[in-house]
């Protein structure tokens, strides 16, 4: 765990020379971790492309990007929460609510400006996120329990609200559906949106004080508090942001698929966590990046597609994803142990 603590400059007191050096080491290691997942992705694409060259044509790559986009956005939100040593299982239900709201609003009022729909979707998500955050920070209920509860409750609300109805693509304005299916300069709009979101969240976590504080909290809540971090407020805001991103994912879900009912996105919760964890976000908090999580989402999507392309029995998909997740956390653990050892050796050398 000390390896993770070192990645949280927010709590490191005036960096001594060895502290800075240690941080450089951890920085390198975690960059290597992200390179590792990029490498795995490249390898997968290369192998698939060699066996089936059509895998690399524009259409199939477009589909890859489209499939991963919404998961990448959800994984970015999940990362914010996971970093603080919490978890948000309710994303899939928030997504369903927001997706259905966007669909109904646009079916009933086709002239509604689309940015308003996005804002409302994110607002709904943020409201759900603040409920989670409030219960976790003020109510002191463990995040796993809170979000398991809201996973159920919000899905129930979605069922009550839709009451068996569903939104159909025909009733939605084309300008909205274009967001989900169209492209700008040959790149799917959805992928561009995901890219922007991931970059924004990534920079927030990298460069903003409050972003760094999320790592500090996840590494050691007590140390973070003693260092003056307002932990409750930060964790609350992480849940709100994750909720807003799930809401955004919901609106995009409607734009992409057109058809929405109360079961939209059910079961996504574990896939999203899996994407983040495969991308190097530790489930115990304090380390990982949004870029890793987004690439993790892309990797999971690519596995599915390449198995289809390679005509491997589709039934192997889930097994492959599960195996990948376990390999990824085992690898993380191994790196963590090595890093701990290296840091200890280094400080011992310094002391001697």
């Amino acid at each position: 765990m000390s390896a993770q603590a070192d990645t949280a400059p927010g709590v490191t007191p005036a960096p001594s020379e060895s502290g800075a050096e240690a941080r450089r080491l951890t920085d390198i290691v975690f960059r290597v971790r992200e390179l590792g997942i990029v490498g795995a992705l490249a390898l997968l694409i290369a192998v698939t492309a060699i066996l089936e060259p059509r895998f690399l044509n524009a259409d199939s790559l477009r589909n890859l990007a489209l499939n991963a986009a919404i998961f990448a956005i959800l994984a970015a939100g999940q990362t914010l929460v996971l970093i603080t040593r919490n978890v948000d299982l309710s994303v899939s239900s928030v997504l369903a609510l927001s997706a259905f709201m966007a669909g109904t609003l646009l079916s009933d009022h086709p002239s509604l400006p689309i940015p308003i729909v996005f804002l409302l979707g994110m607002g709904l998500g943020a409201a759900a996120g603040s409920l989670n955050g409030f219960l976790v920070t003020y109510g002191r209920v463990p995040a796993l329990v809170v979000t398991l509860g809201t996973l159920y409750a919000l899905r129930g609300v979605a069922f009550l609200w839709t009451d068996g109805r569903q939104v159909n693509a025909e009733t939605l304005p084309d300008s909205f559906l274009n967001i989900g299916t169209g492209s700008i300069l040959g790149i799917p709009t959805l992928a561009l949106i995901a890219l922007v979101v991931v970059l924004i969240v990534g920079q927030y976590l990298r460069d903003f004080r409050s972003g760094r504080e999320l790592y500090a909290i996840g590494s050691s809540p007590e140390a973070a508090r003693l260092a003056g971090v307002r932990t409750g407020r930060r964790v609350f805001s992480a849940f709100v942001m994750a909720g807003a991103l799930a809401g955004l994912g919901g609106v995009l879900f409607t734009a992409r698929f057109g058809t929405v009912d109360a079961t939209a996105g059910s079961g996504y919760e574990f896939t999203v966590i899996a994407a983040a964890v495969v991308g190097g976000v530790t489930i115990n908090g304090g380390s990982g990046s949004v870029y890793g999580a987004a690439i993790g989402a892309l990797l999971l999507g690519t596995i599915t597609s390449s198995l289809i392309v390679l005509k491997v029995d589709a039934f192997w998909q889930q097994a492959a994803i599960g195996t990948l997740l376990i390999v990824a956390i085992a690898f993380d653990r191994w790196i963590g142990l090595r890093l701990d050892a290296a840091l200890r050796q280094r400080s011992a050398r310094r002391a001697g």
Binding site: G139, G156, A330
Partner: protein, 348 residues
Amino acid sequence: MPAESPFYARALRWETLIVGLIAVAWVVGGFLSSDFYSADSFTTASLDLSEVALMALPLALVVVAAEIDLSVASVLALSSACMGELWNAGQPIELIMVECIAIGAACGAVNGILVTRFGLPSLAVTIGTLSLFRGLAFVVIGDQSVTDFPATWTDRAFGNFGGTAIPNTMVLFAALAIAFGVLLHATGFGRKVFAIGANEEAARFSGVRVKRIKFWLFVMSGAVAGLAGVVISLRNSTAAANVGTGFELTAVTAVVLGGVSIFGGRGTIGGVVLALVLLGSINKALTLSDSISSYWIQIVTGTLLIGSVLVPNLVVRAQEARTHSFHGRRQWPWRTRVDTSRPQEESA
């Protein structure tokens, strides 16, 4: 709880609160439908919950040891899938049952090894094996289903005990509940499970073989999930890979609602059994009702789950505010031993 108010403490015992909630559910259920009190309604309500109830028992022990097993529903599916394939292969059904339980135990052993030997967090591991075992179930049986199990056994799984309205699966559940209850509350093994959950490091230094015990907890969880796979296949006369999707969340809900702390170290099998009764009662009351949509089941379940931890927390918070003011602020919202509010002294 303050020692000077024993009655108050007893009234706030989590099990007592659940009994109260069950009473409320039964009164409301009676108002909602006249069929609620029928023997048939009891039978169907408990049948529907059979597998989740079985899996919740060992899961409670896993959670008391401060770990979690989210893969149980996938183990159930893998067991069901294997059961179908082995039956197609012409093996005798009794042998298949033993094999399926063994397969479940093997799945649990995989979880256990990954958690204890590799030192990986069980939440992440079992999200992985949730996907892996479900995937293997599909690999084994594909999208086929096997439905021609012998009637003697399907009747046994679906039927009632003797001439009563108690389903056989509930008799099985009761037997296992007693077994796990004794294991957790009356044996040295159970003491050690509590010790691990309360403070793993302290347990290790007191000579508790933490890894070994955790390993066997995962094996038990897997084996019972394998058994649940046998039960669900026979009860529905259908073995398929897609059975029991989402059961892991219901099982966790039952465990937490039953007063087991998600951080470990606290909880009783009795509480989990009562929580299952409560969940079953709510399900039945709202399913039978014409006036209230059954979608409310999920909303009520979710709210209860959160409330079960939140309300006692708020009570404690109010008490702390009254006695020594700043004490409450020194604790971590997400790391607090929230369940100090549930005055059970099992680990003491």
